[in-house]
């Protein structure tokens, strides 16, 4: 994503939402529309970092019988060329078996893993096991992460850094935080890895603002909402707007 000097667009979908087939179609659609990476959420019964939109989507997916194995099948069947990051909470991965999950995710075509409730350093042995299989273990950095911890958290990180743009749970907000550029600079001072921004980015204008300062832009709740309310047609419109916004932002980058 650096060669073109533009930010990468990483749409997020909850696996199995609004239905397994529609979700698979949405992944393909997102790739065709110009997504650079895709994030696929494994539904968990107690998503404590997620706002109402993603909570509803994960519950709906579980109600339709989505399982961890089902998510991996879905990723495999989507046959995507762009890299896929699996995003979830720790417990479904523990229940599946960490090594078994990493191997199965790679076999299904995933290249990264993001565990919302496994912060850097919280369980070094488990982190080593999760990172040993060759999936990039994506680390999250928050506005509340102190500089001392930031240095420790990015050590040994792979893939990219996921910068949580604001305090709070996932979900669309009115505006991007005014200090976004400073936050990105703070992370970049600590690591050469690309920095992607997520949490609260839903509109084309917000995506453009994020794309001007970061290497990647993650859009989750807005896309999940579009899929839930207007199906693939709504998702396609939103994705087209987001792609245009991220690409036009590149022209304004220094």
């Amino acid at each position: 994503m650096r060669a073109e000097r533009r930010a990468a667009l990483m749409p997020y979908v909850t696996a199995g939402y609004p239905s397994p087939a529609a979700c698979r179609d949405a992944l393909r659609l997102a790739e065709r529309a110009g997504a650079d990476f895709l994030e696929v959420g494994v539904p968990f019964s107690d998503p404590l970092a997620d706002g109402p939109t993603i909570q509803r989507s994960t519950q709906a997916a579980l109600d339709q019988g989505m399982t961890v194995a089902g998510v991996l099948d879905l990723v495999r069947e989507a046959r995507l060329d762009v890299p896929v990051v699996i995003m979830t909470y720790l417990n479904p991965v523990l229940a599946f078996g960490v090594e078994r999950f990493v191997a199965a995710a790679q076999a299904a075509g995933a290249s990264g893993l993001l565990l919302t409730d496994l912060p850097a350093g919280a369980d070094p042995a488990l982190e080593r096991r999760a990172a040993a299989g060759g999936l990039a273990l994506i680390r999250l950095i928050a506005p509340t992460t102190p500089d001392s911890r930031l240095a420790e958290a990015v050590r040994g990180a792979t893939g990219f850094i996921y910068l949580i743009s604001r305090l709070g749970v996932t979900g669309v907000r009115e505006q991007v935080p005014p200090d976004l550029e400073r936050q990105v600079a703070r992370v970049k001072a600590a690591t050469p890895l690309p920095v992607a921004i997520g949490f609260g980015i839903g509109s084309a204008a917000q995506a453009a603002a994020a794309a001007r300062v970061a290497d990647g832009v993650i859009v989750g709740s807005a896309l999940v909402e579009a899929l839930g309310n207007g199906g693939l047609a709504s998702a396609e419109r939103l994705l087209a707007e987001l792609v245009t916004a991220v690409r036009s932002a590149a022209e304004q980058r220094s």
Partner: protein, 404 residues
């Protein structure tokens, strides 16, 4: 680690582990706040002024020490010459042990300069205890409570509101304690720089399990001294109910080193262990939930299973990580009793002794009543009566077909 050693039963390392259990499995956003809380707690425990203030409040505001009550008519049903005694946490201000913890944590919040307090509640006892200390210290208070629990515990909702707290109904998931905890954590992730989360049990990410245990340990320190004074010997058995497990660790901790004292934690078997229940230790397996690794009711796929108990305070699919450790170490025996047994014990203790226990505490009483002949004459059986049953009267009347 099969046999727990005296004085070394509870191992807390920098990572907040009890053996393999515990830890800090939380969103990155909360890590700094947990570090701060651990630091402030450490400083507070080293400060004699902190202990002095807490002790004065426990004495003059809460009413400690709580009495130890003989229950001769109940004892007679358990065995000739057996002495069952109750540690009367129900006689604390607000009617349960929960205030021991909320007072301590309110003092910590003040040290951190945080003026907004959030809490989760199941039966409402922790919510009431939190609302109470917030009123006492002039702190803003928001309590998350499942809609289902609000229906079961209407009186407690009103008590919280009378003391100035805002009670936020939680309609996601099972609408009980687990979802109220999710919602409180979501609030904390959003407002972490201004807000302290007073978690109500020995659950959650480190340092909460050890902080809550330490604030509740006053129960066992008092009870051990009271039993020794009255009987000149230690109890044969100490019994407490276990949901998250704070009243149990509160009374067990002082006895962990007394290897001749049997410790029994009683979980909620609900409709029976083959049906819907809340017995995480009996029927769960280790998993990560609400920030720590412990026994958890979950399906094959790692999805958390809804718990069931007639008592809202035990209706939780997880359990404190130190209990997981004590189970594996064999130091505490974990058992379970059904809704039916608890309701019978509720009625029994009321009729025999004039004490209405909380439905949670009734589980501990029920386990003792279910084991007549287990003890010999002269044995002292200590039950932690963690709360009073006033809050449950309407529910029990409903369940037993009495019209109120």
């Amino acid at each position: 680690m099969r046999r727990a050693e005296a004085g070394a039963v509870t191992v807390t390392t920098d990572l907040g582990r009890f053996g393999p259990y515990g830890g800090r499995y939380v969103p990155e956003t909360l890590m700094a706040a947990l570090d701060e809380l651990a630091r402030v707690y450490e400083a507070a425990t080293a400060d004699p002024a902190f202990a002095a203030e807490l002790e004065a409040l426990l004495k003059d505001y809460v009413g400690r020490p709580t009495p130890l009550s003989d229950v001769p008519r109940l004892s007679a049903q358990v065995g000739a010459g057996v002495r069952v005694v109750l540690k009367r946490e129900d006689l604390n201000h607000t009617g349960a042990h929960k205030i021991n913890n909320t007072l301590g944590q309110a003092l910590l919040a003040r040290r951190m300069g945080k003026r907004r307090i959030i809490a989760e509640t199941g039966a409402g006892q922790h919510g009431v205890a939190t609302a109470t200390v917030c009123a006492r210290f002039g702190l803003d208070c928001v309590v998350y409570m499942g809609e289902e629990d609000m229906r079961r515990q209407r009186l407690n909702v009103y008590r919280m509101e009378l003391m100035g707290a805002r009670v936020v109904p939680v309609s996601s998931g099972t609408r009980t304690l687990k979802d109220a905890t999710n919602e409180a954590l979501r609030d904390w992730v959003t407002n972490v720089t201004t807000t302290h989360y007073i978690i109500g049990s020995v659950v959650g990410p480190d340092p909460f399990p050890r902080i809550v245990r330490d604030f509740q340990a006053v129960i066992g320190r008092e009870a051990r001294e009271q039993v020794l004074q009255r009987f000149g010997r230690l109890p044969r058995t100490v019994v407490a109910c276990v949901g998250g497990g704070s009243n149990a660790l509160g009374i067990f901790t002082a006895f962990l080193g007394d290897r001749e004292v049997e410790l029994v934690g009683v979980e909620a078997a609900g409709e029976g262990l083959e049906g819907r229940h809340a017995a995480s230790l009996a029927r769960g397996r280790p998993g990560v939930f609400h920030g720590s690794l412990s026994y958890l009711l979950q399906d094959e796929d790692g999805q958390v299973q809804p718990a069931h108990s007639v008592s809202a305070g035990l209706d939780y699919p997880g359990v404190g990580p130190e209990h997981a450790y004590l189970k594996d170490a064999g130091r505490v025996l974990y058992e379970a009793v059904t809704d039916r047994q608890a309701l019978d014990a509720f009625a029994g203790l009321s009729r025999l002794e004039g004490i209405l226990p909380a439905l949670e505490s009734a589980h501990a009483v029920a386990w003792v009543l279910a084991h007549p002949g287990r003890w010999s004459a002269g044995d002292v059986v200590l039950i932690n009566l963690s709360g009073r049953g006033d809050k449950d009267v309407a529910l029990v009347a409903d369940l037993t077909g009495v019209r109120t």
